[in-house]
Amino acid sequence: MTSATGIGARVVRTEDKRFLTGTGRYVDDLPLARATYAYFLRSPHAHAKIKSIDISAAEKSPGVVNIFTGKDLVDAKVGGLICGWVVKDKNGEPHKSPPHPVMAVDTVRYVGDTVAMVVANSYDEAKDAAEAIRVDYEVLPAIVDLAKAFDKGAPQVHAEAPGNLIYDWEIGVKADVDAAFAKAAHVTKMDIVNNRLIPNAMEPRAAAAEYDKGTGNYTLWSTSQNPHVLRLILSAFVLGIPEHKLRVIAPDVGGGFGSKIFCYADETMVCWAASRVGRPIKWTAERTESFQTDCHGRDHVTHAELALDKDGKFLALKVETIANMGAYLSTFSTAVPTYLYATLLAGQYTTPLIYANVKAAVTHTAPVDAYRGAGRPEATFVIETIVSKAAAELKMDPAELRRKNFIPAEAFPYQTPVALQYDSGNYPPIIDEAMRIADYAGFEARRAEAKSRGKLRGIGFSSYIEACGLAPSQVIGQLGGGVGQWESAQIKFNPTGNVQVITGSHSHGQGHETTFAQLVHDRLGVPMDQIEVVHGDTSTTTFGMGTYGSRSLAVGGSAIMKATDKIIAKGKKIAAHLMEADVADVVFENGTFKVAGTDKAVPLAQAVFAAYVPHNYPLAEIEPGMDENAFYDPANFVYPAGTQICEVEIDPETGIVEVIAHTAVDDFGNIINPMIVEGQVHGGIVQGVGQALFEGAVYDKNTGQLLSGSFMDYTMPRADNFPSFKLGYKVTPCPHNPLGVKGCGEAGAIAAPAAVMNAVHNALAPIGVKHVEMPATPLNVWQSIQGAQRAAAE
């Protein structure tokens, strides 16, 4: 650490002042003169034919400006929403691609599907008018039960996807894996459900748009995690507005967790309609709409088998998964249960043979796409649950079984059998540290003490690996991804020496404004309060790929480092000129250019000033100005890894599971701001425990109605559900990025579900409970206990 605010310092987040004092500027805060307000009429049915839509009464409703339906979009030749990742099935055929109209034309396919857009002088008037729209639906049977999506006779979601199958994909050689199973001393089998989740960002999705008749320019404000990508999709595929005529701004955004990566119908409509209405349009989702229409996460049904030899070495892993895509393929949906899931199934282990088969299904539910961790939590849940189950079956200590199979430190870089090459890592010290912090040795005494109080205590491990820092562009291209995954940075000094750091990533809670400023401060010596981090506006930032997949520091931060290199290189030339020295003799230390062995010195600010006021300046050799761009395309993913240990107590009378202690030891490589990292880990653990114990999107299996459609029925994890977390770190720097960093944004949510559920199973094993599905709600746990008691009685 070079200073109290440089790399490694616990700098208080500079953006928090505006967030905590109500002075942040979110989409809904925008004051737009002459604004109109949009309300979307959503389908009340999971599956229905639209026989007719009568807007005649609604058009006469007070304050109505315009009403649009799917037919208007067809007439205007608006494209459908796209899925940007082509996954090829096991025969090499691209996945089935049913159309995804921006608004339904003749069929609605989930509760919340968009049917009409009403634009009025006020939001209430738009809503009043929507109530006057008469839609004649012919209700059809719906399929919402994933496990039955491929059944013969199941209601069909799209004619273009016969049998509701989007793809049947595989990785690994099944015959080799089967041969290994034939020789196994022990096989552990498991059927699990990875429960469907609803993201629930604090700020609902919102959009506002304005069309400038004079220039023909559109401006769209959106709660996007990646404004340039949103613009690209809208321009190239959906609306046909040229990129240079569409400005997308994602101002302060209150959380995303993946759900704000994608291009949605409502923001598309707001943008499209702005020119037709001729006045600005504003829309903010109501919470009910968020529940119904934000892309959901997870939702897998999996069968897995692990083959072990007599000593407990893993011989092979076989996984069959059905993944729910929902009613339409969202932007990155197809990649999540394939390249972000099955490629992670080696975990931290040397399992030599892995086969995974993934079938993606469409159902009459909201689209499913990436949600914090996106595929890696599902993979970790499979591996870490089956490993703990194997340990229990073999009566081995779960930590011991893990250690026996860890990839050894000397084996890195390590090529897994499922495509990825892990760049670095050292797993045994991580689990040792976690066990020390969690006082694993003292657990049995704590279990006995809990028993004396009538409580069942359990402990569970989860040793995760994840691939993030998305991503090497050529690999993404080979795997069917439609975009590059580099990041951009620009460092733009002003003549007075302060600086704008422009990033193509986007902050919606992660604290980039602080972390990125720390990088620049550390590298260039510019004081923190002289640095402004700029992001989120396609007109003021260089094209960038946005924020998701724990990529912003590893990729965006690396781009910033490259830009600082260019600043220093140019500054050296200027300083050499000013000091009348040879540029080869100039060094840059603590914000000042010096000539080694002399007292000659030029502070960076002086070089910057000379660059903008080039009166004494080598104009023949270099251009004026101090403004450098850089793009960084990573050589590999980064591979954070760690171990979480969860300790729970269960009240067998009520079924309530209480998290008593939760330890996380992570290897995130080098850490820039430990406080921000802790916040990310805390939040991640809470989301992961949320999945394990509380959260579950439930659709009525007959009607397809969303039963968990509000906070009254969808259980969010809350502060009083948690103890203080115990964290630790081990560091193996990433060898291929300039900062040596790995991502930390998703790790907590990736590892926690398995740790919690292993603890739950460990607690309930003594009373004969074999399996509890997530979420382990009181009802679910109580019913599992009842089931075990009935089984024992029989």
Partner: protein, 265 residues
């Protein structure tokens, strides 16, 4: 929400006058249920008569063997009242666990009791303590006041003015909160009073109900052991994604035993 006429009378008589003759007029106390209902457009009243300006309705007094709580008294004030804590600590405890701090500083006892939400906490206390509900037109005994789902014995234009709770010898309330909403999924109020033992259950059924078998057993022996084998039938209990009727029936037993233990502490 839809448009409505808003009134803020200063007296009960004015409030009643405003409500009378308007079929779609709704009184509003703390608004903790009505406002969200309006926002979701689930109700379309012509008039909302806000009782917040009726000062005579708020306040807590001790009258002989009773604690009398004005209808517009907020949950937070009941929870922190020295009188309630001294004479019916179980009631203060119950009030202190309704909703969250924002709800407790807006929501009122009269509003909660008049609304008769099946998952509200207060109805269990009203029935278990054998309280008397006083209105502008008369008095209602606790038994018979709660008629069913969101249904009470209140007539048209009848407004609760206060609720009188007899001081119990022992009492306690145990709530099993719905994991999502934290309303009572099962709440059991157990009270031992001069007139006998009462066990009232909220959250589990369409309306608050008494468990006579438990009352009889506890009258003989006020200990959790005395009711450990008493099962509540699951028939007619609520069932949803958070709790089956069987689970709720089971929880009635657990919460009742824990309430007795708490009352005995």
């Amino acid at each position: 929400m839809y448009d409505f006429a808003y009134h803020r009378p200063k007296s009960v008589a004015d409030a009643v006058a405003l409500l009378k003759g308007k079929e779609e007029a709704r009184p509003m106390s703390g608004g903790m249920t009505l406002i969200p209902t309006l926002k979701q457009r689930l109700a379309k009243p012509s008039d909302v008569v806000d009782l917040g300006g009726v000062k005579e309705l708020a306040g807590i007094k001790v009258e002989g063997g009773n604690v009398v709580i004005g209808a517009m008294t907020k949950h937070g004030d009941v929870a922190t009242s020295a009188d309630v804590k001294a004479h019916i600590p179980a009631l203060a405890d119950l009030a202190g666990h309704i909703g969250d701090p924002q709800v407790r500083n807006r929501g009122t006892i009269g509003g909660s009791v008049a609304n008769a939400d099946p998952a509200a906490d207060y109805p269990a206390a009203v029935v278990a303590l054998n309280a008397t509900v006083t209105t502008n037109t008369g008095k209602h005994a606790a038994d018979g006041f709660f008629k069913g789902l969101f249904e009470t014995a209140l007539g048209e234009g009848e407004i609760i003015t206060s609720i009188s709770f007899p001081k119990p010898e022992k009492a306690a309330y145990m709530k099993f909160p719905n994991p999502a909403s934290r309303y009572a999924m099962v709440g059991v109020f157990v009270a031992k009073t001069a007139s006998g033992v009462r066990v009232a259950v909220t959250g589990a059924g369409p309306s608050v109900f008494r468990v006579k078998a438990m009352e009889e057993a506890l009258s003989k022996n006020f200990s959790s052991d005395a009711i450990k084998d008493i099962k509540v039938p699951a028939t007619d209990l609520n069932s949803d994604i958070h709790g089956s009727a069987e689970y709720r029936a089971h929880l009635v037993g657990v919460m009742a035993r824990r309430a007795v233990d708490k009352a005995n502490k």
